[in-house]
């Protein structure tokens, strides 16, 4: 029987396989940031261990960093200490780092692809659950904890139990105004936050093949929101074209393409589970609750928990409505928004900024809200400025910031206040995720831009 793509990549990386033990897997690339690494470096020092492959390791600063006044020292002393610790650790162990002010500083999952170091067939890890983003290139990429960060630093390997495989087949074509963010929000709403638990997801079908690389990254990025540690897409010409010309693209590009072209799921391979979705039916999506599975088409209404038969789901919905300050039956498009956030490893790439800018061009955002536009990396920011997108955003009344995780998580100065409501292109609507007491509605860049203009949750078609 043939193999799935994930099984092929897994098999190619087995260093040691013994019955009754996890497989020892080789790691091709280890991405590092300031939050989940300090204790790992400490562990190395305590045990007098070295970093085995500094040349397969790269660091950047993203979670803690401010997006304003980046030429000044970080104001929060605890954040500053964490960033300084990363810099000192990278210096001590000889690891490449892109610090604030560098053109390759930015959200770790935007940085890898933009320098061409994320490539098909690789195993990629990072102490961050959104590492699944890199799966868009046909890599097996997943988030790890700090103990595993230390393990990879010391050995360039990880002992892992082999995951099961799930195919998500999405056929058809997207309607105008519908984007890859809507695909993944619809997937999560369908299978739930635990639906992918224990699986690697492979996204397949004509709707996936038609997506650009950056849109594919948005889909794979949120695999973890469906519980899957990794999600991937078989590489194709779109993938090869994207990598070509990037700084770390292979020198022997033809040989690389020949290898990459072997990375697909065999016709006779069998997935443990298959799920299907019709792209033609999809609409712009939005979350109404406090986990990413609590989402609906934007044309709908806030659900009534009483209509939910499953006890746990009903209780969760009741709690979510209280936290979100919403009443059952409210028309989603009537919900007023205080802050629009465009950015993050989900939707902070150049195409996301272009899509939103096109809607905002020559218009003004509603006076009742603020809009933060945060490029995923310094390089994205420079690219956007070269195209004049910054001017479009500023003229529309939005704030144009420097690169970082920003308002995706309440760890840096960009946060929601208690009770403040956002339409956010990020990935998590958990309680307090964007700041204590903040209320998050997850949306696509297109919906974010339309919402910014109208002041209430809106799709581009409403303009």
């Amino acid at each position: 029987m043939g193999k799935t793509l994930a099984e092929k990549i897994w098999a190619e990386h087995i260093v040691r396989q013994v019955e009754g033990e996890p497989d020892l897997l080789y790691i091709d690339l280890h991405l590092i940031h300031e939050v989940t690494s300090p204790q790992a470096f400490d562990g190395l020092r305590l045990t007098n261990r070295k970093v085995r492959r500094a040349d397969l390791t790269i660091a950047t600063e993203d979670h803690n960093v401010p997006t304003l006044n980046i030429d000044k020292p970080i104001a929060d002393p605890v954040s500053k200490l964490q960033v300084d610790t990363l810099r000192a650790n990278c210096k001590e162990f000889g690891i490449r780092i892109h610090s604030l002010g560098d053109k390759d500083q930015g959200v770790v999952h935007v940085v890898g692809p933009q320098i061409g170091i994320t490539q098909p067939g690789m195993t990629i890890v990072c102490g961050d659950s959104h590492t699944s983003t890199h799966g868009a290139f046909g890599a097996l990429a997943f988030g790890i904890g700090t103990s595993e960060v230390e393990h990879v630093l010391a050995t360039q390997t990880l002992p892992l139990q082999r995951p099961k495989t799930m195919a998500i087949n999405i056929e058809g074509s997207l309607k105008p105004g519908v984007s890859s963010k809507d695909i993944i929000l619809a997937v999560i709403a369908k299978i739930g936050t635990g639906g992918g638990q224990g699986y690697v997801i492979e996204y397949r079908g004509s709707a996936i093949r038609a997506l650009s690389m950056e849109s594919r990254m948005t889909v794979c990025n949120m695999s973890i929101e469906a519980g899957a540690r990794a999600g991937l897409i078989a590489p194709d010409q779109t993938t090869f074209d994207y990598i070509k010309g990037k700084p770390h693209a292979p020198e022997d590009f033809d040989a690389a393409v020949a290898y990459w072209s072997t990375l697909f799921t065999d016709k006779d391979a069998k997935f443990d589970v298959e799920v299907s979705l019709d792209a033609n039916e999809l609409e712009p999506f939005v979350t109404w609750g406090t986990n990413p599975g609590q989402g609906l088409p934007l044309s709908g209404k806030v659900p009534n928990p009483a209509d939910i038969t499953d006890t746990e789901a009903r209780t969760a919905a009741e709690r979510a409505l209280v936290y979100m300050g919403l009443e059952a039956g409210t028309v989603l498009k009537s919900i007023s928004i205080d802050t629009v956030f465009l950015g993050s490893c989900t939707n902070g790439r150049i195409e996301d900024l272009r899509a939103a800018a096109e809607i905002l061009k020559g218009k003004k955002i509603a006076s009742s809200l603020r809009m933060l536009v945060v490029p995923g990396s310094a390089r994205v920011r420079l690219e956007a400025e070269a195209e004049g997108l910054d001017k479009t955003f500023i003229d529309a009344g939005a704030e144009w910031r420097n690169a970082g995780c920003s308002m995706c998580l309440g760890m840096n100065p960009d946060q929601l206040a208690v009770g403040e409501r956002s339409a956010s292109t990020s990935n998590r609507n958990f309680e307090g995720r964007q700041g204590k007491g903040g209320r998050t509605h997850l949306v696509s860049p297109l919906v974010a831009a339309a919402t910014a203009l109208r002041g209430t949750l809106s799709s581009p078609a409403d303009l």
Binding site: E148, P163, T315
Partner: protein, 199 residues
Amino acid sequence: MEKFIQHIGTGVPLRRSNVDTDQIIPAVYLKRVTRSGFEDGLFAAWRNDPEFVLNQGAFKNGTVLVAGADFGIGSSREHAVWALQNYGFKVVISSRFADIFRGNSLKGGLLTVILDIAEVEALWAAIESDPSTPITVDLETRSVSYLGKSLPFAIDDYTRWRLMEGLDDIGLTMKQTEAIDSFEKARTSLKPKTLPIKS
């Protein structure tokens, strides 16, 4: 790592599903560069509510957290495991755990036990009617026992052995250096390197 063979303690019922790691410890508490001191951040937002289970005297000394389905979803932050351990928890029981959280917990010696949802419900009821109910979690026999009931749970042999011996995963892998060396020798040169920097 401390060996885990058996733990006897009392339970804390957390009747919520989808407890994400942002709830277990909000991002603002992740700024420390040590592995200790995270107990202050544990369930920080919920602890403002005087009714929250950890604020109830009867459950103050509980060491076995019994939670709803999909515990530990979201961020990969191992700080969530450290916060639970720093606070005093030795075991978390749920009907389903998120993969990364479960991996982190078993690396760090916090035992995560999967029981059927009906068994979790029964355990909640028992703890709530008598918070002093002793719960025995035994890795040797792979069972959770309370009030004369004994519930088996599954855990793979390797992880169980590692926890019972208190072994450090990295130390075990370091013994495989030869295998790693020979894998690297055979590895294709097409794979990218981060150094030297190309721009």
